[in-house]
């Protein structure tokens, strides 16, 4: 399958100092929605950037759709916390830029207008990024990433800087787009509710060295209700797990 991600004994060291990631193995199925949570500095971004091909592994390997990852590819989209839209281009031209750069303008170019329309961006299509609200910018960045039809979309705290209402609106938007396209999603978040609301599986990472502490399945259908007792139980379990991770970190310092 094109959207599978196989991470095999991944090691990543910066400046030969300490392990940002140590011996991490994980397989993500095509079309799966996986969230990664963990304390700050535990290597979440490093893992995502390595999958994206922006960082090279120090050891081990990553296969995406069965092929080893070497460098970036339009098959693996990446969305950042700061929108990373090109400020000198309008929203529409940002999307067209991505399509042309990835060589997919011919296939997807005709649907840009419709795509912006369904995402509620039609009236902002010809606005520059600085003219948009924070939520609209992230929406535009999301659309730009998805416009090139990546098999895998990697999201590094894409909603982290937004207010909770905008965030919930965009969470629904992400679900809708994911279900419509069926691509693989890997999301980093600091928000436990967000992880439960969105994902099939939640990967809890522990720091120093960065590794997987626990993998939690979320056996709930969509759309999810944040008020159910199942949801509350999962939240409790996840928070406990994250607290534990925080304690470990403290011990390390003492």
């Amino acid at each position: 399958m094109t959207g599978t991600i196989e991470i095999k004994h991944l090691n990543k060291t910066f400046d030969d100092e300490f392990c940002a990631i140590e011996d991490l193995s994980l397989t993500i199925a095509a079309g799966e929605f996986v969230s990664i949570v963990g304390t700050s500095g535990c290597g979440k971004s490093t893992l995502l950037r390595t999958i994206a091909g922006l960082e090279a592994p120090t050891g081990g390997e990553i296969l995406c759709g069965g092929k080893p990852v070497h460098g970036t590819s339009p098959d693996r989209g990446l969305m950042f916390q700061e929108h990373a839209l090109f400020p000198w281009l309008t929203v529409r031209k940002n999307v067209i830029f991505a399509l042309k750069a990835s060589g997919r303008y011919g296939a997807n170019g005709g649907s840009v207008g419709a795509l912006l329309e369904t995402a509620g961006l039609a009236e902002f299509a010809d606005a520059y990024p600085h003219q948009l609200s924070g939520g609209m910018r992230q929406r535009a960045a999301l659309i730009r990433s998805l416009a090139v039809s990546p098999d895998v979309l990697l999201l590094d705290e894409p909603l982290g800087a937004l207010d909770s209402f905008t965030r919930m609106v965009l969470q629904d938007e992400i679900i809708r787009l994911w279900q419509a396209r069926g691509n693989t999603m890997v999301l980093i978040t600091h928000d436990v509710d967000e992880a439960i609301y969105l994902s099939n599986r939640i990967i809890v990472m522990a720091p120093r060295p960065g590794r997987i502490a626990e993998i939690i399945d979320v056996p709930m259908g969509y759309p999810r209700n944040r008020g159910t007792s199942d949801f509350a139980d999962l939240r409790k379990r996840l928070l406990k797990r994250l607290d534990f991770a925080a304690e470990v970190e403290q011990e390390y310092y003492l």
């Binding site: 970036t72 700061e82 990373a84 090109f86 400020p87 000198w88 520059y128």
Partner: protein, 318 residues
């Protein structure tokens, strides 16, 4: 009411200039053979402005836009024309400013008209020199600036160069360049290009270094090619900085141009000024100064418009 009065002030003052010119006696008598004998040219010239201001005032009654524009510019225009009034008074009317070294507006205008052919040729030569040097300096500056912003190795070599040329005024090299250059034109082009190269390199490098890493990373996830990274990402992303260099470079280029023309190149407005001074033709000298001022002002205004258009995407405009 107060606004209406302010709006009419430029008109009033320009009429005052004409009245003073006609009614107040001159500081000395002129024979008809005297080259600087007062003519009606100055009246025609000021009459043109007076008519324009009158028309503008009429337009302001009907159009809100014309009114706000006139109201905004009226104080400045009033002061400018008051200065003209004063200048004419201090020269032609009283001879307070040292004569014959400071001619009056009518004499300057007549000198421009008399020498229009040679002034036009000189202007053409100056502009050709300016833009040849400027274009070369800008292109080279953007190339080295992008390279230095992009690669640590290039920065290692470019940075000391910009430091060196940044601390030495470019015209320092003029005598050497004029000796070594095969042609004076080529030497002056080289000088201007060098003068422009430094600020454009420095600002472009700075601009590329200031592009957020995530911008390049986002581009690379879309599969942007290496040339695409430079031409479609690095350069547009750092264009606010590059335009800073273009503006700085233009003002340095104008300086270098005039110095080169005054010191060696035997053509252009700078040369014309020197030549006129040599013959004690002060009116012609001032005429060239006026043309230079207007030209450089226009060049910078065009650059400013280009900059505002190109940087429309920027928060708070250019």
């Amino acid at each position: 009411m107060k606004n209406r009065i302010i709006c009419t002030l430029p008109l009033v003052v320009s009429v005052l200039v004409m009245l003073q010119y006609v009614l107040v006696p001159n500081f000395r008598e002129f024979t008809p053979l005297d080259q600087n004998a007062p003519t009606n040219v100055w009246l025609w010239f000021m009459g043109f402005f007076a008519l324009a201001f009158a028309a503008w005032n009429v337009a302001a009654v009907f159009s809100k836009r014309a009114h706000t524009q006139l109201r905004r510019r009226a104080p400045l225009l009033t002061v400018v024309f008051l200065l003209v009034l004063l200048f004419d008074f201090a020269t032609l009317k009283t001879g307070w400013l040292p004569q014959p070294f400071v001619p009056w507006p009518d004499a300057i205008l007549n000198a421009i008209i008399r020498d229009r052919a040679i002034l036009l040729t000189s202007l053409g030569h100056s502009l050709r020199l300016l833009f040849t040097g400027y274009a070369i300096g800008v292109v080279l500056g953007i190339i080295t600036g992008v390279a230095a912003g992009w690669s640590v190795k290039a920065r290692y070599w470019v940075q000391p160069l910009t430091k060196l040329f940044g601390s030495i005024p470019p015209v320092t090299w003029l005598p050497i360049i004029l000796i070594l250059a095969g042609s004076l034109f080529g030497g002056a082009v080289f000088l201007i290009a060098l003068a422009v190269w430094y600020p454009v390199t420095a600002t472009t490098m700075n601009g590329v270094l200031n592009v957020p890493k995530s911008t390049f990373e986002a581009a690379s996830t879309f599969g942007v090619s290496k040339p695409g990274m430079i031409f479609k990402v690095a350069i547009p992303a750092s264009s606010p900085f590059i335009f800073q260099g273009l503006t700085q470079g233009m003002s340095i280029a104008c300086t270098a141009l005039l110095i080169a023309e005054m010191m060696g190149v035997e053509a252009g407005l700078g040369w014309y000024i020197n030549w006129q001074r040599g013959w004690a033709e002060f009116a012609g000298m001032y005429g060239a100064v006026v043309i230079i001022a207007v030209t450089f002002f226009a060049v910078n205004a065009v650059l400013g418009v280009a900059r505002r258009r190109a940087l429309r995407w920027k928060e708070g405009g250019a």
